[in-house]
Symmetry: C2
Amino acid sequence: MLLNCMGLELSDAFLRVSKALSNKVTNPILEGIKISAEDNELTLSATDTDLSIEKKIKADVKVEGETVVPGKFITEFVKKLSNTDIELEVNEKNQLLIRYDGNESVIQCYNPVEYPGFRKLKTDEWFGISQKDLKTLISKTIFSVAMDDSRPILKGVLFDIDQKEISAVALDGYRLARVKKKSSANVKKQIVVPTRSLNEISKLLDDSDEVINVYIDSNAIMIDNIDTKIISRLLEGDFVNYKQIIPMNYETFVIVNKVQFEDALERVSLLSKVGQNNFVKFDIKENSLLLTSNSEIGNIKEKISAVLNGKDVTIAFNPRFILESLKASSDEFVKLCLNTASNPCVIVPTEGDEFLYLILPVRMFG
Amino acid sequence: MLLNCMGLELSDAFLRVSKALSNKVTNPILEGIKISAEDNELTLSATDTDLSIEKKIKADVKVEGETVVPGKFITEFVKKLSNTDIELEVNEKNQLLIRYDGNESVIQCYNPVEYPGFRKLKTDEWFGISQKDLKTLISKTIFSVAMDDSRPILKGVLFDIDQKEISAVALDGYRLARVKKKSSANVKKQIVVPTRSLNEISKLLDDSDEVINVYIDSNAIMIDNIDTKIISRLLEGDFVNYKQIIPMNYETFVIVNKVQFEDALERVSLLSKVGQNNFVKFDIKENSLLLTSNSEIGNIKEKISAVLNGKDVTIAFNPRFILESLKASSDEFVKLCLNTASNPCVIVPTEGDEFLYLILPVRMFG
């Protein structure tokens, strides 16, 4: 292999694919990044078998070839060469020679024959969605994914796909997030994508309306966006039947200004952190929402105006779950839907059903 | 106590003085911030007995008084009220009532009688220096302070003061940093200021030529800058006789471009991190400086041009110590002064003696 390329492009490509390197060292060769030169293109790829990332950059290829370079080292090293032209050569000892500014460094590589091939996915099932919308589906649900290992399937986001619409759903034992976006698909299917893969997919997306296709194989998905390809394994098992969790009817509806609600709740929650009782009490009556928290060092009360429709209710929540849901919404006003003090609160837009956040209440003592 | 003040000023003041709160809870009242209202000023103060910070803000004082508020909580709470006017009242139960936007929160306070008084310092010994220069003295030496506890006196920066000049000196077992600046003083003295206090003093300073006075008492210093007063305990004991450590003569002088040297050394040092030998070899000869590092995964060589004056030399260093010294210098070129492979390297400006960084070499095996 012998080629020339731009330092900045090479550095960017190594940084991107290095995200698929394994953090746990199980198979040493998976600590490597494979580089292949062919047809005036250099292809970089890395995988930890769950997540695989491949990126192509332009290169002036004089001799074709391939090798596997120590991944973390080469990423750090090339990052510090982004201003220069770089010549890469692989010699007969499978060493990578890196030449720049009259210097030459030598890195011993792994045998590329031992590197696992990038799996081929079937592409006959797919959904298409704008980059912006896919990014939103991820960012507005991912914070509700379960953190503990008790139910592995909940450590990913469910994509509930039909021909016209996708719902992204994440839930742990305390709350649920559901966001809907229009899409097109040639299939009706539920898939669960691991959090780590979604973080990398999200970085690949911009805020444009350009539609990209996501291909679905039996246990993996693939996104192929211009010069970067990401393949992620899917989580296996049955996801919770989330539709059953969402109440059908409510007795109380409250509309509040989102920023006002968020600011007040943040202040009130400071005291709930100090005290033993990690909750904030909500008193909903007479077109106002009164938030209170008590601890041994004092009490905070904040009253915000609200449009109330239905019965008065007094209920308590862990403020973190409410705050995280509010932060994910960009609407000026939100609607809280409630029943009794032991039923969940559901936060939705004042119009439409683009997002839904459900939070279980906390039982108050005394 | 009853007063009104601006949320932003109050928030800024709590944030500033909270830096003197103790991280270790030894005496509960030291977790508090004392607030005193008098003469249309609110004075906030906090101390962990080593470091004390006091700040005054304007307030519309209706009833004078004082109390001690839970420090971390009030700082966090007021930070979230920076857009509003705030009314503070202390009632007969020593509770602080915080009123804003029609809301009222209640915080139980500590008894201000139990709060240790802010010590009075003698102000007859002092030195004067521009804010900019004091900031530089701190920032360009503090990274060389010893991290381990074996010699507590080395966990601070020595200020070697005479009537016309101050040298700031920090050293651990591997390197030494010395920076000189012009100043005026009515005393000739050596004092050692703890790192934590210097970090807070540094935040108080801007990049102006305005001269501020530092007052020196037997075991503390005080800076009184407009509305903020900082008092720091001094470290006790004898500092190393640092002048003895700096060589009188050198056999080799090398002038290099600082940025070029830094970039090359950063790349070469990446491999020294991977390998067992955490050093980079310097070969100085024929008007060039060749940097090399070797490990089981390969070797990196970087040659940079240099102006050599004196004998050739081959020597090795822990690259981190050299890099930290280079980062602290803002000159275009630096001069390295050397003797043999077992003597320290000294980095100085090409002209003058504003800074001096001394780094001990590493012994190479084989």
